[in-house]
């Protein structure tokens, strides 16, 4: 309990300090200079476990570098020897004679070749933390003993910021899981949200030009464990995920005209969304933050207005009058009181916001180009979206905008088409669709545009949304 309070207090202080410090996007990402420097040398394993160490090491590095909260120290700057456990560290001669105050890095002229903490804290590595450990095959399990070492502590005996043991299945999947768990523990130690255990929902397109088939799929944030959810053998598109991650909603042409579906993620069962007769378009659903209602696009009174209804389709009513094409409604996840959407009401498609009752409509993008795909940051202050500003029609790039100030940042720069950004639960990552390889695939990146990783490679994959 004390720890939780401490985390909240420090997080608040940290955020307030940042907000006072610089730009509109500090809620999203800290700048590189202030981040702790982390060294992540490869861990070794014995016997059977050794064959899975490259998977382990690669996964751990990707998770930590991708977390956006560390400056990763390049491997070329590490000392020659890497301790395998905390007790391998020796006390450097100077530190031995002259105990320094806690919290100060120990400059030491003595070179332990990696066996002194100071070997890692001093140039060229200049790390604040280092991860060490070893793996072994025990009782047919992949067992990892791992430490996060705080290099500001003079005595290595007390330098363990984290000491953990992970036991997983003795295969590549087990090694990957162990690395994810260690990565999570480290990321959470620094007050950030772990991405392992969250899921990305997306659309995989197959079939021919004449009879295209799209199904809804899900995968882990690193692209692993791809799994098909729908088997409708029709065009199904535009998935949204409920705040608790238990349900998805999407649009499908399986019965002819586009209609709304609500499915259980766990069972893949159709939960039933009714009252859809009489409209040629029912689609693009997304959940309210309480998970009890969905907002969507409908042509019930002409194409197309924004509507809201309960999860089973009851209590349906219009939020906007259908004088123009309004689409992609997304309720602010923090307040539940406003809707971001895209609309052609002033000409080409732009991003707008309004109160959840349809009042106080404001255009957020400046009217240039075409803007679409609004996605709320978990804090409810920043939107990610796709915009052709400065480019030809159809050449979308990913932008983020502070809704209160209107200040925006461009994150992708014409590497193909980049669309459908969706915020990760940690508020630091985005998943999006890009055709920069020549084919539409799912990518993730940090909200400053760095650390772009391709997550799908098989087939055509699009319209991702990041959920729990």
């Amino acid at each position: 309990m004390k720890r939780i309070v401490w985390i909240i207090v420090s997080a608040t202080v940290f955020l307030t300090a940042l907000a006072a410090q610089q730009s509109d996007f500090n809620v999203v990402l800290k700048s590189g200079g202030n981040l702790p420097a982390l060294a992540v040398p490869d861990l070794r394993g014995d016997g059977q476990s050794q064959s899975f160490m490259s998977v382990f090491n690669q996964t751990l590095w990707t998770d930590l570098s991708g977390s956006g909260i560390f400056n990763m120290v390049p491997r070329s700057q590490y000392p020659l020897n890497v301790p395998q456990q905390l007790s391998d560290f020796k006390i450097a001669p100077q530190a031995q004679n002259m105990p320094a105050r806690r919290g100060q890095a120990q400059p030491s002229s003595a070179d332990g070749g990696g066996m002194y903490l100071s070997d890692w804290a001093a140039p060229p590595a200049k790390a604040n933390y280092v991860t060490i450990g070893y793996a072994a095959a025990e009782h047919n399990l992949f067992v990892v003993r791992a430490w996060l070492v705080d290099l500001s502590i003079p005595n290595p005996v007390h330098a363990d910021a984290l000491a953990r043991t992970y036991s997983e299945s003795l295969d590549a999947a087990g090694a990957r899981t162990a690395a994810h768990k260690f990565g999570c523990d480290i990321v959470e130690k620094f007050g950030s949200t772990c991405m392992y255990g969250t899921h990305i929902f997306y659309v995989r397109r197959s079939g021919s030009l004449k009879t295209p088939v799209s199904e809804i799929w899900m995968m882990d944030p690193d692209g692993q464990n791809q799994k098909q959810i729908t088997h409708l053998n029709a065009i199904s598109d535009f998935p949204a995920v409920s705040p608790d991650g238990s349900k998805i909603s999407f649009t499908s042409w399986v019965h002819g005209n586009p209609g709304i579906f609500v499915y259980s993620v766990e069972t893949g069962r159709d939960l039933g969304f009714y009252n859809q007769r009489g409209a040629s378009v029912m689609g693009e659903p997304s959940f309210t933050p309480d998970g009890k209602q969905i907002v969507f696009q409908s042509s019930l009174a002409g194409c197309c207005g924004i509507y809201i209804a309960n999860l089973n389709g009851s209590n349906m009513h219009a939020v906007t009058a259908a004088r123009t094409i309004d689409s992609e409604p997304k309720v602010n996840p923090k307040t539940g009181a406003e809707i971001a959407f895209s609309s052609g009401r002033s000409g080409p498609e732009q991003i707008y916001r309004m109160n959840i009752d349809g009042t106080d409509v404001q255009r957020l993008t400046d009217g240039t180009g075409e803007a679409s795909n609004p996605s709320w940051h978990p804090d409810g202050q920043v939107l990610a979206y796709a915009w052709t500003r400065g480019y030809m029609a159809g050449a979308f790039n990913i932008f983020i905008m502070n809704v209160a100030t209107g200040q925006y940042n461009q994150l992708t720069h014409s590497e193909g088409k980049n669309e459908n950004p969706s915020w990760a639960p940690d508020g630091k990552h985005l998943v999006f669709m890009s055709n920069r390889t020549g084919r539409e695939e799912i990518w993730s990146m940090l909200a400053n545009g760095t650390e772009a990783h391709q997550l799908t490679t098989e087939g055509v994959n699009l319209h991702p949304v990041w959920g729990k």
């Binding site: 030009l209 295209p212 065009i235 598109d237 378009v281 194409c303 679409s372």
Partner: protein, 263 residues
């Protein structure tokens, strides 16, 4: 609490055992007795009976004829054969030339009751020279899909627009005339007006744009006299393109209203 759980488990186990025991003791119910054989109702003296109803030969090549022969005995007030032959005398024959295998049913009605009998003429296709291409089907035998694809054309739209103008008006004007004829020939068919978009706008926005294109094309057709209840609209946005090249000619091909057979 724990004790109560144990009691519950014991109770459940004993109930399960007991239920199992019961099953063993009670023999399975015997299968239901066989349904009584359908015995023919005894003919009342005055009831009609079919002494003969046959087709000669029973198998023909398409274009040839067969002869139906029949004889009804007893008292009958009406004797008829279906498949368009109608009321006949109580005994007689008739030549038929069915184009496909046909079963004829003779019905004899009298004060004593009604009897029926049937005869089938099988029709086989005449053997054809192996390489000869089939002659083009006459217009009257075209399917509704074939008629739509040969007699109607797509109406094209400007980028991000759903108004019917220019070439689209000409295309839809011709389509309206063709549709009226097609809908008259196929009285049960509903035609779908599909709305499509090019790849450039967002997939989400294009669902609306495709719907607007389909609606305005439908309105235009209705204004030229096509019955509105025979047309429905559907938007595919950019989900079902005709082509995928990023060129203006491909984009133009995809910004269209297209007519297809409704589901």
């Amino acid at each position: 609490m724990f004790k109560r759980k144990i009691i519950l488990v014991c109770l459940a186990v004993s109930v399960a055992l007991f239920a199992d025991g019961c099953k063993k003791k009670v023999p399975a119910p015997p299968p239901p007795p066989p349904a009584p054989a359908q015995t023919a109702a005894p003919a009342t003296p005055a009831a009609p009976a079919v002494a003969q109803f046959s087709a000669e030969p029973s198998s023909i090549e398409r274009g040839q004829s067969a002869t139906l022969r029949w004889e009804v005995t007893g008292e009958s007030t009406n004797v008829s054969i279906n498949q368009g032959i109608g009321t006949v005398r109580s005994a007689g024959s008739q030549q038929v030339t069915p184009t496909s295998s046909t079963t004829y049913t003779l019905t004899a009605t009298g004060t004593g009751g009604t009897v029926t009998a049937s005869a089938t003429v099988s029709v086989v296709s005449p053997a054809q020279p192996a390489v000869q291409a089939p002659p083009p089907a006459p217009a009257t035998h075209q399917t509704v899909e074939e008629r739509l694809s040969s007699d109607t054309q797509d109406a094209y739209f400007d980028y991000d627009k759903s108004e019917v103008n220019g070439d689209a008006r000409d295309a839809l004007t011709k389509d309206a005339a063709a549709l009226k004829s097609i809908l008259a020939d196929f009285p049960n068919v509903v035609v779908t007006v599909e709305g499509h978009c090019d790849e450039r706008g967002s997939a989400e926005y294009n669902i609306g744009l495709g719907d607007r294109r389909a609606s305005s094309a439908k309105e235009f057709l209705v204004s030229l006299g096509v019955p509105p209840d025979r047309l429905k609209t559907i938007s595919y946005g950019k989900e079902r393109p005709q082509c995928t090249e990023s060129t203006e000619s491909c984009w133009q091909k995809n910004r269209r209203a297209h007519l297809s057979v409704g589901q």
